[in-house]
């Protein structure tokens, strides 16, 4: 078994209303915050032990479902 830790974030070109709201609040609390981008974190346990194959599968999963390539970027790390 391999575990993939996946991060999905909005592309830099996309305005992130949630991030902007959190940033405004932290700024009003006087923290030295430049900007915040809010994304998603996911853990996928694969029943595949070959790292090369697991990477291919993870790219496919991310492109097809976990991220929407129109507005999001993804990255992942494999462990285990």
């Amino acid at each position: 078994m391999l575990k993939a830790k996946v991060t999905v974030t909005l592309k830099d070109s996309i305005v992130d209303p949630q991030g902007s709201a959190a940033e405004r609040v932290l700024t009003s609390m006087k923290y030295p915050v430049e900007s915040i981008r809010i994304g998603k974190y996911m853990e996928v346990i694969l029943s595949e032990n070959d790292k090369v194959k697991a990477e291919e599968i993870m790219h496919e999963i991310c492109q097809k479902l976990l991220a929407n390539p129109v507005m999001e970027d993804y990255s992942f790390e494999l462990e285990g």
């Binding site: 909005l10 070109s13 996309i14 305005v15 209303p17 949630q18 709201a21 479902l65 976990l66 929407n68 129109v70 507005m71």
Partner: protein, 234 residues
């Protein structure tokens, strides 16, 4: 007319079903695990919260078995109409371009909204006038239509923008834009004109007693389109 409404877990197909009954039609509900839409004249993807909007609105529904059949149906020229969550499913499934973000003000919006009909040469809008301002409610948390600069240029070049959010006077300004959608886009069609997605809910303004009848035009347009095609022997 043979109308199919796709039911996903979490769909709100009841309003849509009732709306068709107002104009004298009795649609068939199709469970999302089915694999065929053969013989239908129109497929509706209704509003609601398919799969609880988990992951992203519409993202999980577009991998339901029925969606392969809907894709083939659309490719053969069949009429497909996505309303609200149905529009989100169409973009997630690649039948229409673009994607949806959280509303710009982060609030869930449920209110009457003015729209401008940008073209009336479609199966879905032939009972309106081009430029007509109509009032149809919106009801969404993720209705902020987003598309790349290139994608937007293509929408404009191919005349794919069908509905825009506007002020009561019909102006396409920031004031008239409730959710931050690019260029006030509320509804678009594919290049071929047979796949139409819109965020507002026309099925909720079908009778004066519930607040208006501006939604009827969409339903009557589709019936008129069907009637014309039947007369031409298609």
């Amino acid at each position: 007319m043979k109308i199919g409404i796709i039911r996903f877990p979490g769909s709100g197909e009841g309003d849509c079903l009732e709306a068709w009954r107002v104009v004298g039609e009795e649609p068939v509900l199709i469970w999302h695990q089915e694999t065929s839409v053969e013989g239908f004249d129109l497929i509706v993807l209704p509003g609601g919260f398919s799969y609880g909007d988990y992951l992203r609105a519409g993202a999980l529904a577009c991998f339901s078995p029925i969606m392969s059949a809907v894709l083939r149906f659309a490719q053969r020229g069949g009429l497909v109409w996505g309303i609200g969550n149905g529009f989100q499913i169409l973009t997630e499934g690649g039948l229409l371009p673009g994607a949806f973000l959280c509303n710009a003000q982060l609030r869930f919006l449920c209110s009457p909204q003015y729209l401008r009909v940008e073209r009336n040469d479609l199966a879905f809008t032939n009972q309106y006038r081009t430029g007509q301002v109509i009032q149809i409610p919106i009801n969404h948390g993720e209705g902020n239509y987003s598309i790349s600069d290139d994608g937007y240029r293509q929408l404009e070049e191919n005349n794919q923008i069908v509905l825009r959010y506007v002020t009561p006077e019909g102006e396409m300004s920031a004031n008239g834009n409730p959710n931050g959608s690019r260029a006030n886009i509320a509804g678009i069609v594919n290049r071929e004109g047979n796949v139409f997605g819109m965020m507002p809910h026309p099925e909720r303004v079908m009778e004066e007693i519930i607040g208006g009848v501006d939604g009827q035009g969409m339903f009557l347009s589709i019936l008129k389109h069907r009637e014309r095609r039947t007369q031409h022997g298609a």
